[in-house]
Amino acid sequence: MEEAVKELIDENQEYVINMGPQHPSTHGVLRLVVSLKGEIVKNVEPHIGYIHRGIEKMCESITYPQIIHLTDRMDYLSAHINNEAVCLAVEKALETDIPDRIKIIRTIMSELTRIQSHQLFWATYGMDLGGLTCFFYGLRDREKILDIFEETCGSRMIVSYNCPGGLMYDIHPNFQNRVKEFIKYFRRTLPEYDQLLTGNVIFRERTMNVGRLSLEDAISYGVTGPSGRASGFSCDVRKHEPYSAYDRVKFNEITFNDGDSYHRYLVRMKEMWESMDIIEQLIDNIPEGPYAVKMKPVIKLPEGEYYQRVETARGELGVYIISDGNKNPYRVKFRSPNFVNLSVLNLISKDFKIADLVTIGGSLDLVIPDIDR
């Protein structure tokens, strides 16, 4: 019995439990070593690396078009946006002119990706809080986007639709109609999300004032994306450094000042409306033209360093390429938003209950493969 007690309680008289790597609410193989005093979280220590695949190392031995397929596997919910980041970096390095058609299609696809990612966030967040019904409503609508992806890209989640210089193939003739149908449908069903969860008293009680992140901490910890914007950190790359067709659409950057779980959630809910606005502005204005610019068969970047930022559904993704003039990059670094957002978990979940740890972890919307890379 003495032995057993020693295992349970550490030297600070804290009860240590392992959340994960196989735990329903860590959304993947994240392991959190949580020290508890009763139900109160005293320390959270993330242990990561369970799906570390060494993507950065693998990139050093493959060509640029091949890298794109690895980026899908990082943040699999923002697959298209990750692809775009690498393509933009390569295109910027080669100073390729990209026609409007490609830019607009990329933007539409990026926004669809963002919507489906936020839908999955909503679905799983409801489930983390114990409302299992949310999961089915979220996935019901997400299927519609995945069907559009399937038709145009041939794949549902890991789309690999971009290639340096454009797109892999042209959009399906049905694409515009289906996207318009979806927008019409989703404008009707998105208010259901608010009815089911946002307005719920229990939900508000569970999330408001839980896991408050101040603006200073958000900037210092580099928390970007919806999580950062909920703290008032204006960090939307689409606004500050527009890429693709974001400079020609009107949309609002959603920011709040509270920085608690509820507002992190609310940013995502409002972003879905903004994304639909962006798509509506672009969907009827896709010009005719080629879907890809002819590139050299072997892409070699001139010697130098290139940095490209894009806004994924979770924050700022940076692609840092160092080239030595060969067909393989010399070094590729992905600044993954989830890796950085994870660092704030210990700070904001201290002195909350263990149930709040799940709430806070869910509201950061972590995707583990992107943390491990």
């Binding site: 990561i48 700022e316 940076g318 070094r331 670094k333 890796f339 950085v340």
Partner: protein
């Protein structure tokens, strides 16, 4: 702040720095020992106010190892790249910038894990992704017979 002004400023902060205007950012190669003071002044000076370290990467340049800091100011909107280089491949040690930008804690752990660069005054410098027995895989001289097949 304009790029030219920034170059002048960094040069005045550290006379040994090699500052160039790169394709995208102002790039400053700073001696390892001066990095912490330069970074601190860049952050605290209200004219530069570099408060957001958005990327920290470790690079193996072949003969030497290096760390690259991408920093931006959220108020003023300008960016700078700070670089340090280590001649000593066996025991590279730099000062941690965790006290300046808190996000550096995880980034530095990652760099330590994958490249073996140590950071002085880091609060919790342990391996992050890999077990202790693994080497430093992002180094160019890393050998792994099992997983890496070198094409002849």
């Amino acid at each position: 702040m304009e790029k030219a002004q920034l170059i002048e400023l960094v040069k005045s902060l550290c006379s040994d720095a090699e500052v160039t205007e790169g394709r995208q950012f102002v790039e400053a190669v700073v001696p390892v020992k001066d990095l912490h003071s330069v970074a601190e002044q860049l952050k605290t000076d209200p004219e530069t106010a570099f408060d957001f370290l958005f990327c920290l990467s470790g690079v193996d340049y072949g003969k030497e190892l290096g760390v690259v800091y991408h920093v931006r100011s959220t108020k003023l909107g300008h960016s700078i790249v700070l670089k340090i280089r280590f001649q000593d491949r066996d025991n590279p040690v730099a000062d941690s910038v965790t006290d300046i930008w808190l996000t550096a804690e995880y980034h530095e752990r990652e760099v330590y894990d994958l490249l073996g660069i140590k950071f002085r005054n880091h609060p919790d410098l342990r391996r992050f992704f890999l077990p202790a027995s693994a080497g430093y895989p992002l180094r160019k001289d890393f050998v792994d017979d099992e997983n890496i097949v070198v094409k002849k």
